[in-house]
């Protein structure tokens, strides 16, 4: 380490502290049975908070989050696998126009769509059901995986499919027998990415779900945090840690594709 790199290390230390300090409390509070908002090392370590997180209403929230995220990502994956094929392999009227529309849809903030979606579901009478949340999240989750899948398909030469057609394979069959096996991690990337965004989504379930036992973790933690009276910080901290684990693990698997995917297809 030479003299000139000292400011660089100083800068990095500050950034590290800035990133890490707020999170310390979360870990300490999660193993403290009498946690408050003060950061302190608990007198004795306990896992009772994690135990409590798997019971009562928090267990309900965990289940709801899993149901919503798993169904939504699977739906998105199936729909995109099919639709991306036509966008990648066929030419039809208005294709680029539609792709540009999908692209815009991906950039426009979700807040713009929140009222249209709410008004629709309240008219149809589906407010306070997981179905409404799953449908809205599927729609809002479609654009990005669609472009991503199209990118994966585009990178596979068409000659493999042509060979399959010659052997009498139908178009729809070539998707499953020829294209998908070559996409490799592509399917997992799409599924994981949709899972991560759906898992963290707050605004849609906040608006559509008003019953305590229907809420996913995001809205549940928010509601419990804002409750009057004594907030159980230990329980909420352990619940937050559990809540953060799936996206962190998934990120480790797909980090290579994450930024590339988020940027690459904006160019269209």
């Amino acid at each position: 380490m030479n003299f000139r790199s000292i400011p660089i290390y100083l800068f990095l230390i500050i950034i590290f502290l800035f990133s890490f300090l707020p999170v310390i409390w979360l870990f300490l509070a999660s193993v403290d049975s009498a946690a408050t908002q003060t950061t302190k090392v608990p007198e004795y370590l306990t896992l009772i908070n994690f135990d409590k997180a798997f019971s009562g209403r928090s267990l309900n929230w965990i289940a709801n989050s899993i149901i919503i995220a798993v169904i939504t990502s699977t739906l998105v994956l199936v729909i995109c696998t099919l639709a991306a094929y036509s966008f990648s392999r066929l030419n039809f009227f208005g294709k680029n126009f539609i792709l540009f529309g999908v692209l815009l849809l991906r950039i426009i903030p979700i807040s713009v769509f929140i009222l249209p979606v709410y008004i629709f579901f309240s008219k149809v009478g589906l407010v306070n059901t997981l179905t409404s949340v799953i449908i809205s999240l599927t729609i809002l989750g479609l654009p990005f995986p669609l472009l991503l899948m199209k990118g994966f398909y585009d990178s596979i030469p068409i000659v493999f499919e042509e060979a399959a057609w010659l052997d009498g394979c139908s178009r729809i069959k070539t998707i499953f027998k020829v294209l998908l096996p070559q996409c490799g991690p592509g399917l997992a990337v799409v599924w994981f990415m949709t899972f991560m965004t759906t898992w963290g989504e707050f605004q849609i379930p906040l608006v559509l779900l008003r019953k305590m036992d229907m809420m996913p973790l995001s809205v549940g933690i928010f509601t419990a945090y804002g409750e009057h009276g004594v907030v159980n910080f230990g329980l909420l901290s352990s619940l937050s840690i559990l809540y953060a684990i799936p996206p962190v693990i998934m990120y480790v698997f797909i980090q290579k594709y994450m930024v590339k995917g988020m940027v690459g297809y904006v160019k269209g």
Binding site: Q37, T38, S86, L115, S237
Partner: protein, 290 residues
Amino acid sequence: MQKSRFMLLTIGPAAIFLFFLLFAVLWSFYISFTDFSLVGRAARDPQFVGFKNYIKLFNDPTFYNSIKISFIFTIVSAFIGQAVLGLLLAIFLKQVNATTKVIVIVAVTLCWIMPDMVAVYVWGAFTSRSGLLNTILNWLKLSAVNWLGEMPLQTVTIANIWRGTAFSMMLFSSAIETIPPHYYEAAVVDGATSWQKFKSITLPLISPSILMDLILITMWTFGYFTLIYGLTGGGPGHLTEVFPVLIYNQAFSHYEIGYGAALSFIMMIIVGCLCGIYFILLRKAERMVY
């Protein structure tokens, strides 16, 4: 014939969902011309009121306040905060040893990858009266501050920088990696300083990435609801009421869905204009580099 049936099969499901969205948007456009509400007579039997919502909107001080707050929040936390910090990190991390690099990247990325609500929860405690931030101030013999009460906008802005810097950092890192090293070697032979290398090689070559980064983070920050709503709910008063929070509060706290729908459309127009400007700039930047 074969082809169109096949297309129907593949694009069909996606089209149904996307048409639903279009339909919902058009419907709420209609709603923005009514006095539709969640409670009272207007909930059962909304009346067509013409441009009343839009006229009300342009005479509403909270509307202008939200635009101002939104732009301050976006410019300071996305442009000045995330983009500049991300760029500095991307450059500096290239020059340190692997261990330091990994530790810093993991810490920064963790803030970005955790769910929104965990970030809200963590920052709520961090900036609370008895939170770690005030504890540190006490150690330094400074008096404690009620962060979310006294300086709410500054606090949420910094929280958003904390949350989002990782994306810019990663985007810039991967852009810098694509620059051929012999450019720098040639510059060193010519006796260029670090600053000259940055200004004349790095910056121009990654300018499309910078623009792309700015497009994405401005849109995300402009539409960022969870962090601010979770920490302050738009308050105290209207001090942190950014546009998405204003829409939510109008529609679901004041139950004025029609008015909220009108606000949504104004937001859509603002976002659309920003997108347009950016895409034009992006085309230009790409033409300059390639």
